[in-house]
């Protein structure tokens, strides 16, 4: 068997891209940097205590769990006490950015895949590739394109986090009762109306489960992102490890865990069915429903009661 120079081919094509599309990558880099800085600035501008209170409130509203609310407040106070507050927010900003991009890319692709068997078949191996290719293998090229810093971290994280968004969107849409979709079509809605008003709302629990996974995968990438110069908790852990500062590494690790638990429980609660009445509903459903009920004209029956 002769040596097949796959590596050389990849290398030279990457080099070609850098040479010929360098401006494009610089532009993407600038946009991403600006966006993530904006998110970060928004997060750090209030006092830590104010933001911690907001986190507590978010936990209370979405999960309705006193335990988790108390945990959230105490855990973030601990993070602040470890002097890791700004790094945690840097990481949170990266995670939010990566999650938003993943969802913006993943959900539409999932919709296309749900509507066409052909797209579905083509997309699947690409997703497998993105998820199983060892992270470092594309971390290095993204440094190649975007330089050292937070941007290659975001890009690598996004690549890694897109697949669950696509998969769970497709799954959710395919699981929507075909008769209900047909019923909607039978009334002659405009194009896109069925998707917006029936299919997506009914696929929402599954899509939210996808968002939850996207966020968790993004978080799991922060340490790796720290290695290419992204600041934040990744940077803390990496410097702790490289300097044999076990204490520092642990503190960074604990902050990652706090962030992970908080984000997981909150996004999980948005997607997870909560039993109320005979059918189970998601917290998001309940929030939306409350709005619908308020909008509906008052009935005499209710007014009397």
């Amino acid at each position: 068997m002769p040596r097949i120079p796959v590596g050389t081919a990849v290398e030279s094509s990457l080099q070609w891209l850098v040479d010929h599309a360098g401006g494009f990558f610089d532009g993407v880099s600038a946009v991403l940097l600006f966006a993530v800085n904006t998110v970060y600035t928004a997060l750090v501008s209030p006092l830590p205590f104010v933001l911690i209170a907001v986190f507590g409130l978010v936990a209370a509203v979405t999960t309705r769990s006193a335990v988790l609310t108390v945990f959230t407040v105490l855990a973030f106070l601990l993070v602040d006490g470890m002097r890791l507050w700004t790094q945690t927010l840097e990481t949170l900003a990266v995670v939010i950015m990566a999650a938003v991009i993943s969802v913006l890319v993943g959900v539409p692709v999932g919709i296309l895949a749900a509507n066409s068997a052909r797209v579905s078949v083509c997309v699947r191996p690409v997703l497998d590739f993105m998820q199983t290719l060892p992270v470092f293998v594309y971390l290095v090229p993204s440094v190649f394109f975007f330089g050292i810093g937070v941007v290659p971290g975001i890009v690598a994280t996004t690549v890694f986090a897109i697949p669950p968004a696509v998969r769970l969107t497709e799954l959710g849409l395919r699981q929507v009762d075909a008769e209900i979709v047909e019923a909607a079509r039978a009334f002659g809605p405009r194009p896109g109306q069925v998707l917006r008003e029936v299919q997506l709302p009914l696929a929402l629990p599954s899509i939210m489960a996808g968002v939850n996974q996207v966020i968790m995968l993004a978080l799991s990438m922060v340490v790796v992102a720290g290695m290419v110069g992204a600041e934040g908790l990744g940077g803390v852990v990496v410097s702790g490890v490289t300097q044999f500062d076990i204490g520092l590494a642990f503190e960074g690790g604990i902050a990652v865990v706090v962030l992970a638990i908080f984000l997981d429980r909150v996004t999980g609660a948005l997607g997870r069915p909560r039993s109320s009445g005979r059918r189970t509903r998601t917290a998001l459903d309940t929030l939306l429903r409350r709005r619908a009920r308020e909008e509906a004209p008052r009935e005499p029956e209710h007014a009397a009661a």
Binding site: D177, E179, I180, E182, A183, A184, R185, A186, F187, G188, P189, R190, Q193, E197, V198, P201, L202, G277, R278, R279, D285, L288, R289, A292, R293, A296, P297, E299, P300, E301, H302
Partner: protein, 398 residues
């Protein structure tokens, strides 16, 4: 109003390939199967009149749902066409097709297919939302439709808070809000318990009476088909086996399949006087000579003759005794030998309502049409035959 011409549907093959396969040979079903497709509907034609309640009946998988979905093109026919008042649905632009679905056809589904994330009122208003009617107006009209189906006060609830019967009322209201002329109903009551089903059937018949919708109704329950249908189309394996009124199908099933199907039904409620009657052996017109009628009577086994007036109505019954007396008196017509010893029933009376009236007189029970004209007679033996064959079918079935 609606005409289906040679509708054929092949699933799981590309349309071009399906058409080629259909043209290939005489055994289309087999050709399609061997090509890896499903011939769900095979050359079905029928037409439905305005205001008619047309029932499509058949066992599971016989292609009923596919047929009705081709009527509003939720399923695109492989070959054949559907015409509304002469306009071919296949030739419509997407916009016209949306208009047809939104304004002219309402659809009701077996498992209700309500939108679980919307209130009952919003469900009922869906067709108007698709039409772009402002929110306040469409909710008002939804409330009116909910009123019609007896759910006036419950619009704020979510579908999962309702029982099956109530959910299907919402499904019906959703189809009625857009005020379509055609209702397509795919086994709408199959998932309901018998009592609820019965009351929903009543309600549908009432609606039909009040608003004269054209209704195409799918069921696999013959009793339901008989109760509701003006005409019934029986399908099997994608083909039409028989098309006719309920009594016609009961009285003359087209083949063994239909015969098995109808053997379940309670015939005494379905068979009408028109279905079991036979022509009278001897009738006489009022102006006839008594001696001639007496001679005809004596040649037959009849024990009396119905005498008809010039307008076809029954003038009375002439017995042999009265006739021979009149002949002896040399009367010129039958005016003086008429007796009132008979009973007549309208031709649409169900068997169960007239069987006790037979055998009470020398002449068999008379059957008259809407204009009171004599159209046939039912002797007692025929009633017994009809009931006996029903009983026999049932015991065969047990």
């Amino acid at each position: 109003m609606i005409e289906a011409r040679h509708l054929t549907k092949v699933f799981d093959l590309s349309p071009a390939r399906a058409r080629r396969t259909l043209d290939a040979g005489p055994d289309r079903a087999r050709a399609v199967r061997e090509a890896g497709g499903v011939l769900a509907v095979d050359d079905v034609s029928f037409s439905v009149e305005r205001g008619e309640l047309f029932v499509i009946m058949g066992l599971s998988g016989s292609g009923k749902s596919t047929v009705i979905r081709m009527i509003n093109r939720l399923v695109v026919p492989t070959t054949g066409s559907v015409l509304y008042d002469g306009t071919d649905v296949g030739g419509m632009t997407p916009r016209q097709l949306r208009g047809l679905r939104n304004e002219r056809v309402g659809m009701v589904f077996q498992h209700f297919a309500l939108f679980p994330h919307r209130t009952v009122r919003e469900n009922a208003a869906y067709g108007l939302k698709a039409r772009g009617v402002p929110r306040r107006e469409r909710l008002r009209r939804a409330d009116r439709a909910l009123e019609q189906v007896g759910l006036g006060q419950r619009g704020g609830a979510y579908p999962d808070e309702f029982s099956g019967g109530m959910q299907q009322r919402v499904g019906l209201a959703r189809a009625l809000t857009t005020d379509p002329d055609v209702l397509i109903m795919d086994e709408p009551f199959s998932a309901l318990d018998p009592l609820t089903r019965r009351s929903m059937q009543e309600q549908l018949l009432e609606l039909q009476r009040d608003f004269r919708k054209t209704i195409i109704f799918v069921t696999h329950d013959l009793n339901e088909a008989m109760r509701l249908g003006d005409r019934i189309m029986v399908m099997r394996d994608g083909r039409t086996i028989q098309l006719g009124t309920g009594p016609e199908i009961i009285a003359r099933p087209a083949d063994g399949y239909v015969h098995d199907f109808v053997s379940d039904v309670d015939r005494t409620r379905v068979l009408t006087a028109a279905a079991v009657m036979r022509p009278p052996w001897v009738t006489a017109a009022l102006g006839e000579d008594p001696a001639a009628v007496l001679a005809r009577l004596e040649r037959s086994r009849a024990r009396g003759a119905y005498v008809t007036a010039p307008d076809g109505g029954i003038a009375g019954v002439a017995t042999p005794e009265a006739l021979s007396a009149a002949a002896a008196e040399r009367r010129a017509d039958l005016e003086h030998c008429l007796g009132g010893d008979y009973t007549a029933v309208p031709d649409d009376t169900p068997l169960v309502e007239f069987c006790h009236l037979t055998g009470g007189h020398a002449v068999p029970l008379a059957v008259v049409d809407r204009d009171k004209r004599l159209v046939g007679v039912v002797p007692r033996a025929r009633v017994l035959d009809a009931i006996a064959s029903a009983a026999e079918d049932r015991s065969e079935h047990a």
